[in-house]
Point group: C2
Chain length 772, copies 2
């Protein structure tokens, strides 16, 4: 553990790294990533270091290096790197003396400020870098550099800054070395194109020196690079500042009037010229205003003994907006957002189960874009079903460009013992993704009441996924039931299991829901019915769904009240995980056991049965939940970042608030905390969605049960007040929870409703029940 | 200029870098490159630095990144990098205190030794790295690491070492992320394949710790990488050493019984196992023995006031053997050898005019391989001729795989002013390469008397190139002569000129030579004649050659005795270059003039007319040579590394020995000297061949004139003795030159012949004339 990460009790909007350590470059590169959903840049230092991962991503621009690799979000030529030579010394913080190093992200405004004092021989300088990716102009990013000569001797400064396309994704190069150009004598441009998906990029950078006498001002082209070289002298005890402004456009940008490379080049230059009247601060404040709209929408306020709880939710929301390509429904959220190369920018069930709820409840227009992505993914899902011999829509375990279908790599890292590549089975048999997508659609519809989406797209997805499940079921003649064999459930430590409860129950839900849906549509929405009927032959489909769903095997609780995770789990050996949990979790466990051995024990990577109990809480009573929580949690390593938030919410539901708050704090620290290596490949997007869920679902007690909104708050003892809000079917609801009462306010309703009598149920109307 | 480079008067076999400076990583990476003609590795530090260029090349394994890039020698996954963590500190010489840094290449044995003492907080260690690429086993390379704990406190050491495929050629990735494997529990293997040429690599590494208690010994796979992680503790004031042994095989290796990947994997492991009985020193000495064979063949000994002259020739010979793929006639020498990514590993006229003479005169079997490469290149040369509307063999300006034909990039770096890519004309119009190849073949035949090669391949090349020239000539009706318009001569500052003398004269020579050759073959070698006649229809070809060669325009000397470089050169403006030559040459000139302006002045980049006078000395008298030397040299910037050696030899011929020796010293220092940046993209191969030529041709006075060997020595005044030798038509000749006499010894002839009477000509026999 390091003590580099700092949080200020007096400013709960900022996270800061204090002091520089080249061993931990990845930490703040990731957790301080800047972005706006269109583009994102890891917050690497301007100057280069061995071990850095300098990434720029533009959402949706997937490319495959070759036929053996799946598509990934390519690392776009870097526009932020700069080299400095001061009196002949190359600026590097691993030499000389560094003091007052601070790298600080302002979550409220999206501004990153890095500053330090560097002494090397006779050189004493303070450098301050301010940087932002504009939330107001999706294609724009800028840096302001201030150099203060703290010595009384003159300082000679050389700066090399430009666009560097020699980077790659861990060695896989996704771009051509495209055309380059110098426009209007000062705008350097590079036009790389992705090698396989043929997406044309236009990257433009401009440097702005004002009131500085440049002794050198020289463009320099290189293979895959275009740089400007500047030199100037700085008197003793004086300072100068300059700016770099850049933009990125691509041929898949929807809003452009032309995506021709020549037009984009002209447009990009014209845009930068048009911004010349605006200062760096003007442009930053324009961007901060857009951020403020997010903060103003249902602000979450926590009065807590641990001030970091308040930062945690801001940290989570910041990242949820940085990572989400809200501007284009052909794009979705990557498992690492756009903060690193991990998981290749691919979309998993993480979206529907972990991040989508935040958007459905607070930014329904963004949620709509995310569910529309799944509608655009139907073709890919059909392709996958067909290639596996099934019908309907089988969603890909990993998704990239929506129509591409399954993009899970088939082969993973080589086994360290045999050296042979290990097969990644998730793309083949981790099939619960299809019910997760259906669940997400349904939750979106329940929360937003977006009937238009339902009629045009949502119902179709739900019917199509139910159709898949019907075809997926296997008839077991001996037992006379339908079952689902050879799958991976949410617990990925168990591969090739039969009748994973989570999978079977959610498949059953999907099918039964559609039976009811079709009946309802037939009666109430004949046009929608007719449209779907044309596609699906509903009468015959419903007949199949009815026959099969009646006979689907839904694993029932044992005598001890335990829902078996799958057919074999409960008969496996139990290992006491206490010592591993106290130590480093997964690492210490896997030093003693390999994956094959873990597969043969009752060890669970992440919430599996418990997630089922949480998502479908109406199906199970409290006693059963308690028993299963007590049974499974000790067997769970929480090695997936998707585990803790589920446990925190479920234990809050069960009144185990101390335990819950412990999970909450652990979960909040996955990225924000002191673990300096775990965020290297990128932040944990699902875990950040989980932070919002723990607060609003867990402690705010908000839930949709049987299509009804329920609010049943319970605060951890460390919290004095929790204020939050959400949109429910077009209405804005604000909730203020205190230990002894809580207040609900609906926008436009004038008066707030206060609940003080604990232990009672208040049914406000058909769709809103309050428990307290 | 830096003072890092050291040469020891007491050990004229070593070049050394003393002191570390991260600004100059490229210098000793290049000039201390290790290799054996099959593979070569730049001598990067084991630990990584920003700005390093960590290259491994295997000869002939060309690959093109995409259809917009030409093929290049790909940067093979690195097997030499190692990271060290000492008591938690990452080893890096740009932090902590470094003392006694030395990086030393032993030219005699091919061993690189790097050592330094590093202090960081409580850590005080001495590290010593010994490394070689085996000259005895072409696929093998090894490193020995010694760690001495100089403190009396225990030291914890972590080492990460393996195979790293995340590197590229300046961002262009040429390999797939292939299969990986751990064999026999300790041999890590990676099997990358080139993406376009589909050459399969098998790379195997083994680490050997003896008598060390490892606390960690953990394989780790990564994307494009496979590493071993080791940890151990070192008591105070103790030391340990370990070894890394590696090999590289590819599917184009000719000598293997099977090039199947599985067989190569097994074979590579079996080979490393079979070497286990041999120590690092055994393996190094086995390799040094092979080097010794080179040093024993015609050793060059210089008694000189400047000891670096002696090192220079060893430096040159070392590199000539590192860079030359003598094992495979499908491969040739790159303009940067295999010491860097510059010029993409491509073969230019540099081979025939600058490096081949060394091999023809001292290693005829290697020379044979190099000229055979041109025979294998005939198809590519036909392709190029046809595509340009010509006949015969038009050799590519840049050649890679022999049958690929022209691989000169069409577009170069973007113009820094317009930003537009500049067209590289050499591939289209620098046509003298075809006569250069013919010249090289002819010189090889004259020196070696290799009649078999002549009959089977050599004559065919000469006829085919003559056929090209005949088709290339343009008839000028006004002048009633044939001319060659729109070319680039050796002076690349003059593009699109007409009747470049070098081009016209050498084309003429090629055609006239073939006219005579055909007559001779018809009379004396009817079978060879018949074979060629079938291919070329010799009667008709000779008729054409006769008609055209008689009327070819050969620019004649002006009244002042100056051979015009081309039709327009002498009418251009003259610029006094004195001040630029005194300053930094090309840099200072191009700060004042751009290429277009230089094109319009009498400024020459490198020997052009003077090279013609040197290579075809029989055509021109001494007075003309002197006049032209005095005219052109002051107008020559020597910006090409191919220029100085030509000037040194020609001025020696002309008795301007002081001037000559000045050129010699300048030329010797191009790579070996103190210029710390100029070798970054690789050494200057032609210049190194030029070092041998300056000594043997320039001061030894050896030349073939009109198919006769001539020896006419003249020593610079700084030299007391020069001893050298060469093979001439199967006979070994040794020459010892002193200021007042010289001695020639022919092997098997017993007695040496001594010449003391200066100013006389001794015609020893029909093929050997001595001038003194």
């Amino acid at each position: 553990m390091s003590t580099l990460m700092h949080y200020d009790t007096n400013d709960l909007w900022k996270i800061e790294q204090v002091g520089f350590d080249e061993k931990f470059l990845g930490k703040t590169e990731s957790i301080m990533v800047l972005g706006n959903g269109y583009l994102a840049v890891r917050s690497s230092e301007e100057e280069s270091y061995v071990g850095e991962t300098r990434d720029t991503f533009v959402a949706g621009t997937f490319n495959a290096f070759d036929e053996n690799e799946v598509t990934e979000l390519p690392n776009v030529p870097d526009m932020l790197g700069m080299n400095f030579v001061l009196n002949g010394h190359v600026l590097s913080l691993i030499q000389g003396q560094v003091s007052d190093y601070s790298k600080k992200l302002n979550l409220k405004t999206g501004e990153l400020v890095r500053s330090f004092i560097w002494k090397k021989d006779e050189v004493v300088v303070k450098l301050t870098f301010r940087r932002f990716v504009s939330k107001a102009r999706l294609h724009f990013l800028a840096t302001q550099v201030q150099i203060e000569n703290l010595s009384d001797q003159p300082l000679s400064v050389k700066v090399r800054s430009g666009i560097n396309g020699q980077l790659s994704n861990e060695g896989s190069q996704h771009f051509t070395d495209g055309e380059k150009g110098l426009m209007e004598g000062r705008f350097i441009q590079m036009m790389p194109e992705t090698t396989q998906s043929k997406i044309q990029f236009v990257q433009t950078s401009e440097h702005r020196f004002e009131g500085v006498e440049l002794t050198e001002n020289r463009p320099e082209t290189a293979r895959r690079g275009f740089y400007m070289n500047y030199a100037f002298d700085l008197n003793g005890n004086s300072s100068i500042s300059f700016e770099k402004r850049s933009s990125i456009y691509t041929s898949i940008d929807k809003e452009l009037s032309s995506n021709k490379v020549e037009d984009m080049r002209q447009f990009a230059v014209a845009e930068l010229i048009s911004l010349e009247e605006l200062s760096f601060d003007d442009l930053l404040s324009e961007s901060a205003k857009e951020w403020q709209k997010i903060w103003d929408k249902h602000p979450i306020k926590i009065e807590t003994k641990n001030f970091r709880d308040q930062i945690a939710i801001r940290f989570a929301q910041y990242h949820l907006h940085v990572m989400t390509p809200a501007h284009d429904e052909r794009m979705n959220i990557g498992a690492k957002g756009m903060s690193g190369e991990g998981y290749k920018g691919h979309t998993f069930w993480d979206t529907e189960i972990f991040m989508l709820p935040y958007f459905s409840f607070t930014h329904p227009e963004i949620a709509k874009s995310l569910v529309t992505y799944r509608y655009l993914g139907l073709d890919g899902a059909h392709k996958k079903a067909t290639s596996n011999g099934y019908e309907g829509a089988q969603y890909p375990w990993e998704a990239a460009w929506p129509t591409d279908g399954e993009v899970t790599p088939v082969w993973g890292a080589a086994d360290i013992v045999t050296g042979q590549a290990t097969k990644i089975w998730s793309g083949f048999i981790e099939q619960h993704i299809t019910s997760d997508v259906a669940f997400g659609i349904k939750q979106y519809l329940d929360v937003t009441g977006d009937d238009t989406f339902a009629r045009e797209k949502g119902y179709e997805i739900l019917v199509d996924t139910a159709k898949f499940w019907a075809s997926r079921l296997e008839y077991n003649a001996k037992q006379d039931y339908y079952e689902i064999c050879d799958v991976i459930g949410p617990d990925e430590y168990k591969e090739h299991v039969n009748n994973n409860s989570y999978t079977n129950y959610t498949a059953h839900w999907n099918m039964v829901y559609v039976i009811d849906l079709v009946a309802e549509l037939k009666e109430r929405e004949p046009q929608v019915y007719a449209k779907l009927d044309e596609k699906f032959d509903l009468k015959s489909l419903v007949q199949t769904l009815e026959e099969k769903s009646e006979k689907i095997f839904l694993p029932q609780a044992t005598e001890d009240g335990i829902i078996p995770q799958d057919d074999s789990y409960l008969s496996k050996k139990v290992l006491d995980l206490t010592k591993y949990k106290e130590a480093d979790g997964v690492d210490s466990l896997f030093h003693e056991y390999n994956l094959e051995q873990v597969n043969e024990m009752q060890i669970t990577k992440q919430a599996d049965v418990l997630l089922l109990l949480l998502l479908f809480e109406g199906l199970f009573d409290k006693e059963l939940k308690e028993k299963n929580f007590d049974y499974y949690e000790p067997k769970t390593t929480h090695d997936s970042s998707l585990s803790l938030s589920t446990h925190a919410i479920l234990s809050a539901d069960l009144g185990k608030l101390e335990k819950s708050y412990h999970f909450f704090q652990q979960a909040s620290n996955i990225d924000m905390g002191e673990y300096m290596k775990s965020s290297d490949p990128g932040i944990h997007a699902a875990s950040l969605g989980g932070i919002w869920q723990m607060i609003v679902f867990g402690y705010g007690g908000v839930r949709i049960v049987n299509e009804q909104l329920r609010i049943e708050p319970h605060l951890p003892k460390e919290w004095n007040t929790l204020t939050f809000g959400f949109d429910y079917k077009g209405q804005e609801i604000t909730v203020e929870v205190r230990p002894d009462h809580f207040i609900i306010e609906k926008s436009g309703q004038g008066k707030a409703i206060e609940f003080t009598s604990k232990g009672k149920t208040h049914k406000l109307n058909d769709s809103l029940t309050i428990f307290y």
